[in-house]
């Protein structure tokens, strides 16, 4: 057993706990999109701040892993910094901000712009794992609905959106259908990121600590965002490029510049923005 200088076991959790979580992960991988209950532990960071993702990462982390942590696409947001520090301290592993160098990427609210590879694992922090929760608050009911593949309620909701607003009024945590079986919450990533989940080469693991659920998308799983034939799924688009790196087609944050409401748009994925800027500089030389 590997004890770090903090007096805690490698990556904080004891080995029995990790084994329990790995069993849940294996089951989750075997049934893509199915929410596996697991005995989530209290962690030294608050519920709702990534305890599920942290437990998943702690359970799969090896000493030679290179970890990247992002929140809102950025490595330098406060909570990402805090979680990265946590693993640096309790596991002594290497960390990086460079997407292609990471073996494990823990994320909240985004999928990196750069296409992920087969040797990488993407760990999502999930607040409400149940895609049907806001339609039906009872767990006993929603589990039944999943078991019976009874997703009519969800389609009615999307239909009502269209009849009322002319479009589906869900912009993030946009529900997906996994391998034509389970409707799954993709975590609160903007729907812009949904297509990246489809047939991704990397393993995608989802941890919801407070709600005690783990689910997964094995590599190359078919993931379809719910839609209708006459109202096909579409993602957000911006009219302008990133104000910093000039790329078109990445997800942009809106930054208010002054009191009169002037604003600029720049890449939410900070590593993407930096590498685009470097590429442009190289090309110019």
């Amino acid at each position: 057993m590997n004890v770090s200088s903090t007096g805690y076991n490698f990556a904080y959790l004891n080995e029995q706990t990790k084994r329990m979580i790995r069993r849940a992960l294996l089951k989750a991988v075997a049934i893509p999109g199915y929410q596996v209950p697991f005995a989530s532990r209290e962690m030294p960071m608050p519920y709702g701040w990534g305890t599920g993702g942290v437990q998943v990462t702690a359970s799969i982390l090896k000493p030679d892993d290179v970890l990247k942590v992002i929140d809102q696409g950025a490595d330098d947001t406060t909570n990402a910094v805090s979680i990265r520090d946590f693993f640096k301290k309790t596991a002594g592993i290497a960390t990086t901000e460079v997407t292609k160098d990471a073996t494990i990427i823990q994320t909240r609210h985004r999928i990196p712009e750069r296409e992920l590879e087969a040797n990488q694992i993407l760990v999502f922090q999930v607040p409400i794992p149940e895609p049907l929760r806001f339609l039906e608050p009872r767990e006993t009911e929603t589990r039944k609905m999943h078991a019976l593949e009874e997703y009519g309620l969800m389609h009615v909701k999307l239909y009502e959106d269209i009849s009322r607003n002319g479009q589906i009024a869900t912009t993030y945590a946009y529900p997906v259908l996994v391998e034509d079986r389970y409707v799954m919450d993709p975590s609160p990533v903007p729907k812009f990121d949904n297509p990246k989940m489809h047939e991704m080469a990397a393993l995608q693991l989802f941890g919801a600590g407070r709600e005690m659920r783990i689910y997964a998308l094995p590599p190359f799983t078919r993931v379809k965002s719910l839609d209708f034939e006459d109202h096909p799924f579409e993602v957000q688009k911006w009219d302008e490029p990133c104000a910093i790196c000039g790329t078109i087609g990445s997800y942009l944050d809106e930054v208010i510049l002054d009191n009169s409401g002037n604003r600029m748009f720049c890449c939410s994925d900070t590593d993407h923005c930096r590498s685009e800027l470097e590429n442009a500089a190289e090309a110019a030389q």
Binding site: Y12, N14, D76, Y251, V255
Partner: protein, 366 residues
């Protein structure tokens, strides 16, 4: 450019340092010690132990100091610490009838075998600010003199047993014998429907304020079951553990607990004549308000079992058990402080688009 949220490592370090400084407060005032907290703020210590699910007055006092007196934060510190502890097994069920009683009252009988024992309570105090407490005082009469020298009985009979002898109250339920291990919600995810013992486990570590409000709501007509405080007893009980290699139980220590047995009305049903029913509360330390609320909520949650119509939040197992944990609740509510600008951006874009669409439709209509 945008430093408010993307503050990074340095800002976090500084925030922590500032927190430490604020915790210490004015350095001309002596620093408080965990010993002082344990001895002089014992109700806080007890609450943190009970909702932190860890019987350790010293750690509890330390957590309260570290959290600057924020009890939910202290409970969180205790939970995060206890979760790393190894699990050796389950103790034998506590025998609270052998409690060394410090306080024991019944509201249902004027006098009871074993007597009403008030103990240390603020029940009958006039809530007038005692300005003399602002000064440091020397210790006055010792507790022995106040208590007198009456020796309490070794085993004090339970008030509810007296009722039970007449068959007026349902027997205490025995859900499982000792051979089946009790459920453990810290090791198995909560599943519905929950057994009563699992519910009680959840309520024992539940937020006091949440239980208080729910218990109160049952008194105000939301699933009214009119409770009587049959018996409340507080004191030390022995904890017994049977190590596998030994094969028989040994006493490993004593803990102070509060226990409340509530007597509630029951109209009777097709299969059962009218009789009194039970609600039960038990938690670490002296936490009377907590265990009384717990007993009311426990009784309300037995609606299905007793064939009662479910009309109120306090009877709704999923609602109560899913929202009772203050560490979970505070984490999720406070996570709204985390940046959400990616999702907010998506919403902004949608609202702009929908406003533009409705403008176009309006203009077309005109």
């Amino acid at each position: 450019m945008y430093v408010a949220v993307k503050g990074g490592e340095k800002a976090i370090r500084n925030a922590h340092a500032l927190f430490d400084e604020k915790r210490r407060g004015d350095v001309s005032v002596p620093e408080i010690t965990p010993d002082q907290i344990r001895e002089q703020l014992s109700f806080s210590v007890d609450r943190v132990m009970s909702e932190g699910s860890l019987y350790d007055p010293d750690l509890s006092a330390l957590a309260i100091k570290q959290a600057r007196g924020d009890l939910i934060e202290a409970i969180f510190l205790i939970r995060a610490s206890r979760t790393t502890l190894p699990r050796y097994g389950s103790s034998k069920p506590l025998d609270t009838s052998k409690m060394k009683v410090e306080r024991r009252i019944s509201a249902t009988y004027k006098d009871i075998p074993g007597g009403q024992i008030l103990g240390a309570t603020f029940d009958y105090q006039h809530r007038l600010l005692d300005f003399s407490l602002a000064e440091q005082k020397l210790p006055s009469e010792s507790v022995d003199e106040i208590q007198g020298d009456e020796v309490l009985d070794d085993k004090i009979p339970r008030v509810l047993d007296i009722l039970n002898n007449e068959g007026l109250i349902e027997p205490a339920s025995m859900e499982s014998d000792e051979s089946t291990p009790p459920p453990d919600l810290t090791r198995d995810p909560l599943d519905f429907p929950a057994t009563r013992s699992l519910r009680l486990q959840n309520l024992a570590r539940a937020d006091e304020g949440f239980l208080l409000a729910l218990g109160y709501s049952t008194q105000r007509g939301y699933a009214r079951n009119h409770g009587f405080a049959g018996e409340i007893r507080i004191g030390a009980v022995a904890v017994e553990f049977a190590p596998e290699e030994l094969g028989f139980p040994i006493e490993i220590g004593e803990i102070i607990v509060s226990e409340c047995e509530m007597i509630n009305q029951f109209k009777g049903s097709k299969s059962a004549p009218p009789q009194f029913t039970r609600g039960y509360g038990l938690a670490f330390g002296q936490v009377e308000r907590k265990v009384m609320s717990m007993a009311l909520v426990d009784r309300a949650l037995r609606a299905d079992e007793l064939g009662e119509e479910k009309i109120a939040p306090a009877q709704d197992e999923e609602f109560v058990l899913s929202h009772s944990d203050n560490v979970k609740a505070t984490g999720f509510v406070e996570h709204l402080k985390l940046p959400h600008y990616v999702d907010f951006q998506a919403e902004l874009e949608l609202v702009r688009k929908m406003r533009a669409t409705s403008q176009v439709m309006k203009e077309a209509a005109e």
